[in-house]
Point group: D2
Chain length 325, copies 4
C-alpha cells in the first residue's frame, strides 16, 4: 500500500524528523512539503543528504488548498499557527498535528499511541501529544490506571534537550555558547503542557481531582527528555515495575527497565523507557520516563499514529534502534 | 599575612580547583602538594599553565608527617581515603576536608560557610559540605530557619555536571561519548548525601522529623549543580524571596534572584544563587539553588572556610566573577 | 535472501553500530554476538532498547570455532586483537574486519566501497577502511584519480569525535569533563592511518611518490569526522566539483556539495560529503570530506561491503537519512 | 593608582569578559558601561552575580561624548560599528579596541602584546588583535622572526569555539541544537583575518612575500581556539621549541610545551600555549597555538594592552590560572 504524505513545517526540527522517518517508511511516499521561511528552496538545500527524488522536492508556501492527492498530512507548526490552516484542509486528508493547537480539542483525538492505540482506528484528526507529556504520561499511566497513586499531588520534574524549543532562533538564549555548560528551570508553575497532562491523567485514572506540579528544565543536549515524577502511593518498586510490564505487555515501543533509564537509550528512535523506585514507608513512588523529544515526543509518535489511522502495522517505518553512543 | 598552604589530592578536580584559587589568593602560599597517581611529577606536568614557582613544585606522595611548616591543609580525597591520614596530622595544622569523610563527625565543624560563618571561628578541623548539599541547603535554609516549610516531606531533584563524580575514570560511563547527549537519574532513594542534608536541616529548623527524598541526575556538562526542591508550605513567592533576602543580608556569596537561576551564572566562582516560586493554594513552594560544584560545592567554599578559620576577610581570593559564557 | 550474521566486539562502539544497522537490514539476521568484558550478558543488558529476539541473544566469549551457521562475520576489535582469531575462521564465513589489522594485508581486499565497489565482488575477506581514511580518501579520490593534484605533498588536517577512540575507557583523557570544551591535536607526524592512506592514494593516482602529512584532532563531540585537505594543483573550484560529481556519478552514498559540509549532515548514516575550494593563483586546492566515523567510517561501510560481497543491493539496510539535528 | 574604565559593548561576549577581568583588577574601576540592545538595564540584569557597586551600574546608550572622567575605554563592538564612534572620543581617553575596525589602521597601534609589548608604551589608541590572529601569530612569531620558515606558503587550519562568533543570535546556525555534534569549515579562501595576519608576519619576518591560506572551523565548544599551522622549513622539532623558548623568555603569558597544547589549558585565562613538531626530511614544520578566544583572543590581551599603555605591571589583573576542568 502506497500512501501519499505531506509535511507542513518541514524545515523545523519536528517536521524534519517526520521527513527523515517517512523517507524510510515502507508505505509512505512524501509528495508535498511546505514551510514558511524555507518556501521556494529545494528540499536538499535544507537537508543536504537527501536521495534523488526527495532531494528535488520544492518546499511550498503552506496552503491548505494545495493538498490534492495527499492521504496523510503531518503538521509541525509553532503553537497558534496551525489552527486556522488545518481547519480548511479537506476531510479526505488525514491529519496528524504534531504542534500544540489541537490537543483535547473538539473533533480531534489525542494521539497517545502507546496507551490508547485503539482510539486511533478510523480517525482522521489526531492531535499528537507534546514531548513533555509523552515522556511523563508513559511513566505515570500504569500507576494511574491501576489506582496505585494519589493523582491529586503529582510532582513532575522534567529535563529536556534544546531541540524541544524548536528551531526558532533569533534568541541567544538558545545559542550554543549560552546553553552549553548550563542548566536552568523555566516556566515555573505555569507551563503550557499542564492542562494536557491533567486531562490525560484524569482519563487514565478515572479521577477528577488531578493536580500536577510541573517544572521543566533546559539541559545542554540536543535531543532527549527525562521526566522524574514524584507520586504518593504505597506500592513497592517491584509492584510498580510489574504493573508497568503488564500495562505495556505486547506494546512494541515501551520498555520497562529496572535501572533508571538514560535518554540516550532512545535517541533517534520511537522508544520510551519507564522505570520506578518506591519507598512504601514514606508512601513515595518515583516514576521515570525517558524518550527522544523528536521521536516519541514528536515525529516518531506521529508516524505511529499515522500507521494506526491508516490501518498499517503500528511499527512500520519506526522499528529502528536508537543511535548509540 | 602569609599563610602556608598544602593541598592533598591536587591532581583531582577538587584539589585542582583549590590550587587554582589559592594561586591567586592574596594571603596563601602553596608550598606542599600531594597526590597518589601523580606523585613524583612536577605540578606543571599536570596543570601546564602554572607560573614559575608553582610550576616547579613536585607532587609528593601524601603523608601526614610531611606537613611541617604548613598552616592550612586542604584535603580532597575520595570518600573513605582521608579518615586515617588526616587523623595523624598535627593539631597545629588547620584542615579543611573537601572530601566526605568528616561531615558531622566528632571533632569536626560542618563548614556551611554562607549560613554558619560564626561557627568556624577558632576551629581547626572543618568538614566542607558536599556539592549537592551546598546547592540544596543554601536554597532551603531561609525557609527552614523561618519555619516556612514542613521539613518532614522535602523532595530534592538535583542535576549535576560530570566533574562532581571526580576524576576517577576507569569507567566508560563517564566517558564523553556516553555522557554527551544523555541525562540519567542515579542512586534513587539511597544517595550518600542524604544524612548530611538531614542533619543540617534539622539544625536549621530545630525540628527532628526531617525527611528528605533526594534524586541526583547526571547532566552533560562539566561544572554546575542545580537543585530543584519541592516543599510543603503556605508562603507566597514574594514571602520566600523576602525571607531569603533577609537571611542572606550582608552575606557576600549568595544571590537571591526573582528569575530561576542558571548554573552558568556561577561557573568558576564561589557564588550560589537561590530563587523561589510558590503556589499557596496548593501549599507548594519550589526552592532553587544553583552553584558551581567545584566552587561553592567544593574548593570555593573550602577557601571561604579557610579564610574564616584563619581570621582573614571572608572573601579573600574568592571575589572573582563567574566565567561567562 | 536471509543471511546469518555474527558480530564480534558487539559491546564496543563500532560493533554496536553494526548491530544497530543489521537489526534493520532486510536480509541480515544477527544470530551470534561476541565480546570480551561483556561475555555472558544478555544483549539487552548492553543495549536496552532491543526488540524481542535480539534482546535475548547472549553475548558469547569470542571464539573462531563458534561460527558454524554464520554467513557473514563483522569483527570490530581493537588493533592487534583480531589478527590471530580471524585467521582461524572457516573460509566459508565471509568476514568484514572493521578493525585495523588487515588493511592492505595479504589475502584481504581493502573495502573502500564508494570508490572500488567492483573489487568486493566474490571476495570473502574485506578489510574495512579506518574512519580517518574513509573521510579523507573520499574527498581526495576524484582529484587523485584525475591527476589534478600533486600527491607528493598532501596535508591532511582531520577532526574527529571521541567515539573514534573506541569505548576503551580507563583513561580520564576521554572523560566528559576533560574532553568537553577542549580541542587538541595528537599523534603528530606519526599516526597509524598514514600507510593505509598512502597506499590507497598511490593506487588511485598511479603514482608512487605519495607523501602525506596527517594531523588528527580530538573534538568535543561523540560522532563525526571532518577532513580538511590541502593539496597542490591548478584546477579551479568548479573543476574540482565537476570532477567529483563525475567520479561519484551513480554512487549512492557520496554527496558533492558546493558549500563546506557539516559532519552533522552525516550523523547516523552511511553518507559521505565532499566539497572543494581552489585558488589556482596559489596552486592550492582544499578538499573537504565529512562523514560519521561510526557510519561511513566503520559499521555503515562495513555493511555496504557485506552487501557487495553477498550480492545484495549495495544500499540494503543503509538507506536511512542522517539524524538532524 | 586608580584608573577609571569604560566598556562599550558590555553585554556582548568580549565586553562581558572585559568586565569580568576589570572587576578583579587591582587598579581598574569600571565606571561606565554601554551597550545597544541592553541600554537602560542595570548591569546586574545582564550578569546576575555582580557584587554591589558594579551591580547597580546602568548600561548607557553608547555615545562618545559621555566619557568625561574615563581614563581607559575598552570597545567591543561588531565589525564596522566602532569606527565612527571611536573617532569622536577625546584624545585624553586611552582606547583599546577589541573589535576589528582599527587593526593596522592609521593612528592605531596593533596590540600584539606578547610579541611587541614595547610598542604600546605611550600609545593611546590600541587595536587589539583578532582571536584567530592571536592564537596563530603567537605560534608563528618565533619561527618567522628567526627566518626559520618560508613565509610565502603558510597554511593555517584553525578551530574555534562558538563564542568567537559573538553573541549576535538571530541565526539558528549558532543555536545549540545545530552546533552541538557538528564541525564545519567556513569562509574558505576569504576570511577577514588574513590581511591582519599577513601584515603581522611581514613585520615579524621582514619579508614582503607573505602568503597565507587560512581555514577557520566552527567547533562545538563555547571558548577556545586552536591554530594548526603548516610551514615549510628545515628546522627540527627541538630547534623550533628552543627558538620559541628564547623568543618568549621572560614573557609572562606564553607557554612553550613539548606536547600539543589543549585549548582547555587556557580557558578563562590570558595564557597562550605554543608547540611544534617538525619533519626536516620533508621540510615541514607544524606549529600549534592554543588560547581562549575571549581571553588572549580578546579581553585578556586587551587588559594586557591597557596595562602596558597605563604603565602598570603587565600582568595586573590577568594572573589568574585557567579553569580546569
Amino acid at each position: 500500500m502506497s500512501i501519499k504524505v505531506g509535511i507542513v513545517g518541514v524545515s523545523g526540527y519536528g517536521g524534519g524528523e517526520a521527513l527523515r522517518i517517512c523517507a524510510s517508511h515502507p508505505n509512505f511516499q512524501v509528495t508535498y512539503v511546505a514551510g514558511e521561511s524555507s518556501a521556494g528552496q529545494r528540499l536538499v538545500d535544507r537537508m543536504p543528504g537527501l536521495p534523488g527524488r526527495l532531494a528535488d522536492l520544492v518546499i511550498q508556501k503552506w496552503h491548505p488548498a494545495a493538498l490534492s492527492g495527499i492521504d496523510v498530512l503531518f503538521a509541525s507548526l509553532p503553537t497558534g499557527e496551525s489552527k486556522e490552516g488545518l481547519a480548511k484542509v479537506s476531510p479526505k486528508v488525514k491529519i496528524v498535528d504534531i504542534g500544540g493547537d489541537h490537543r483535547f480539542a473538539e473533533g480531534w483525538t489525542y494521539g497517545l499511541a502507546d496507551i490508547w492505540p485503539e482510539q486511533m482506528a478510523g480517525k482522521t484528526r489526531i492531535a499528537n501529544p507534546g514531548c513533555y507529556p509523552s515522556a511523563t504520561l508513559t511513566a505515570i499511566a500504569p500507576l494511574a490506571a491501576a489506582g496505585m497513586i494519589d493523582v491529586s499531588s503529582i510532582i513532575i520534574d522534567a529535563k529536556s534537550g534544546v531541540s524541544g524549543a524548536g528551531r526558532g532562533g533569533g534568541d541567544s538564549k538558545f545559542g550554543y555558547a549560552e546553553v552549553n555548560e548550563d542548566v536552568v528551570a523555566y516556566g515555573l508553575l505555569k507551563h503550557a503542557h499542564v492542562p494536557e497532562m491533567t486531562k490525560a491523567i484524569a482519563q487514565l485514572s478515572g479521577k477528577s481531582d488531578v493536580s500536577l506540579t510541573f517544572t521543566p528544565h533546559l539541559i545542554p543536549m540536543t535531543r532527549g527528555i527525562l521526566s522524574t515524577i514524584y507520586c504518593r502511593g504505597t506500592a513497592t518498586t517491584e509492584e510498580c515495575l510489574k504493573a508497568a510490564r503488564k500495562f505495556y505487555a505486547g506494546r512494541p515501543f515501551v520498555r520497562v527497565t529496572a535501572a533508571p533509564p538514560h535518554t540516550k537509550w532512545a535517541t533517534g528512535s520511537n522508544l520510551a523507557f519507564v522505570s520506578y523506585a518506591a519507598d512504601p514507608a514514606r508512601k513515595l513512588i518515583i516514576a521515570l520516563g525517558a524518550a527522544d523529544n523528536l521521536g516519541k515526543g514528536a515525529a516518531g509518535q506521529a508516524v505511529q499514529n499515522a500507521n494506526l489511522i491508516c490501518g498499517l502495522p503500528e511499527t512500520a517505518g519506526i522499528e529502528g534502534l536508537a543511535l548509540w553512543p
